[in-house]
Symmetry: none
Subunit: 239 residues, 2 copies
């Protein structure tokens, strides 16, 4: 459907021989099956964790499994199904237990953190996920229900709670996108006329470098703190 980028010169990751399994299998069906749908999808997730989105290629997964690319198609219809499988694998792991034993604002903070972490693993699907209708009876709806319920119990106005949750979710998804970008994404050129920006860039670099924090993480933490505090103020004012 869509190709984002592809470099002919950079061998990138897949050139490295990180095939764990290469027993020179001869042609024909093996006595014991080598692949399964689950194994393929889990390998996809592993490779994404290791090498970023580019790890999710069919050929990369095949290489890691010590198998020819065409063998994957006996278990998976194509890359689309592979990615969808990975997405389910990850988004089913967003826990909501924080709402059981924490005040709503702290629980919301915890939830936002795990939510973002879950999606940073596969950033390229964020746009799709954010625009595609969620199935009305799926795990995602149940997750929302849990959050809505906790906030309403804490005193939130029923007509405002969804508005607030969606606002936080927008920040989470935007932050996940940001985390998918390279750290030096907006590095200023030396001759730039943007002196205030260049100064701020250097100041951030040295402030964060000392704590080994990624810029995207720092922004997420600050923004999350700010937004939850702002929501809390809005909440306190309206009662």
């Amino acid at each position: 459907m869509t190709t984002i980028e592809q470099s002919a010169e950079a061998p990138a990751v897949s050139a490295g021989s990180d095939a764990f399994d290469a027993p020179k299998r001869r042609v024909g069906r093996p006595r014991k099956n080598v692949l399964s749908r689950q194994l393929i999808i889990e390998t996809g997730l592993t490779l994404i964790d290791e090498h970023g989105v580019e790890g999710a290629g069919m050929r990369s997964v095949a290489k890691r499994l010590g198998v020819r690319p065409s063998a994957l198609y006996n278990h998976v219809s194509g890359q689309a199904e592979l990615i969808a499988g990975v997405r389910e694998l990850v988004s089913d792991r967003i826990p909501t237990e924080a709402f059981d034993h924490l005040p709503w604002d702290e629980a919301l903070t915890e939830w936002a953190k795990v939510y973002r972490r879950a999606f940073v693993a596969h950033p390229s699907t964020i746009a799709l996920l954010a625009v595609v209708p969620i199935e009305g009876a799926g795990a995602t709806t149940l997750m929302y229900d849990r959050v809505v319920d906790a906030l309403v119990r804490a005193g939130w106005d029923t007509s405002k709670v969804l508005v607030a949750i969606v606002a936080l979710e927008s920040f989470i998804l935007g932050s996940a996108l940001d985390a998918a970008a390279p750290d030096d994404m907006m590095k200023p050129s030396d001759d730039s006329a943007a002196v205030a920006f260049a100064e701020a860039y250097r100041a951030r670099e040295s402030a964060l470098g000392a704590r080994e924090t990624r810029p995207a993480d720092a922004s997420f933490e600050l923004g999350l703190r700010a937004m939850v505090a702002g929501l809390k103020a809005e909440f306190d004012a309206s009662r």
Copy 2:
């Protein structure tokens, strides 16, 4: 670097002959130049608006311009620069005058609104543009410079200002994605066990329906108010 998807069977868009210009040009430099960097980038934006992100391919742009793909490389270093150029084109139209005559928090609010509006006009660019490095001397950098400068003058810590701006930007981009989704995106199914969620959904519907407000707009406004208030609190506390 990365390919997301690519179908061998679906001819998709590029198969259709939407070449506007195919005068069978003979080899060699033409008397009048056919291409320019600006024309290429504007064509890229047009194709993205028409066909989604897949329109931004080098070969698609070349076909639309009635030109061989290799000709593009005389004006643009590659697809990365093309996409970066499209980004500049879009973000070029984001005004920053609010910082001239408003307090920093109000100006930030105005800026966020026009920023989001600019990207909502080209929804399918968001995911693409958010992840691509911005060129150090471009319009985007100058926009950042303007914002950084205003906030620093207002007393913001130089090492924190960029962190805050990126946080707000994440919220803006996430909200733009949300605005690109259909309004009924998370409509609960009638038989759903998610009763709290269904109740909140109905309550939001009637509250917003009275004012003819889109849910995405309501969430953006609430979130923006909350985040700016939170940043202001953070700002006041640190001085």
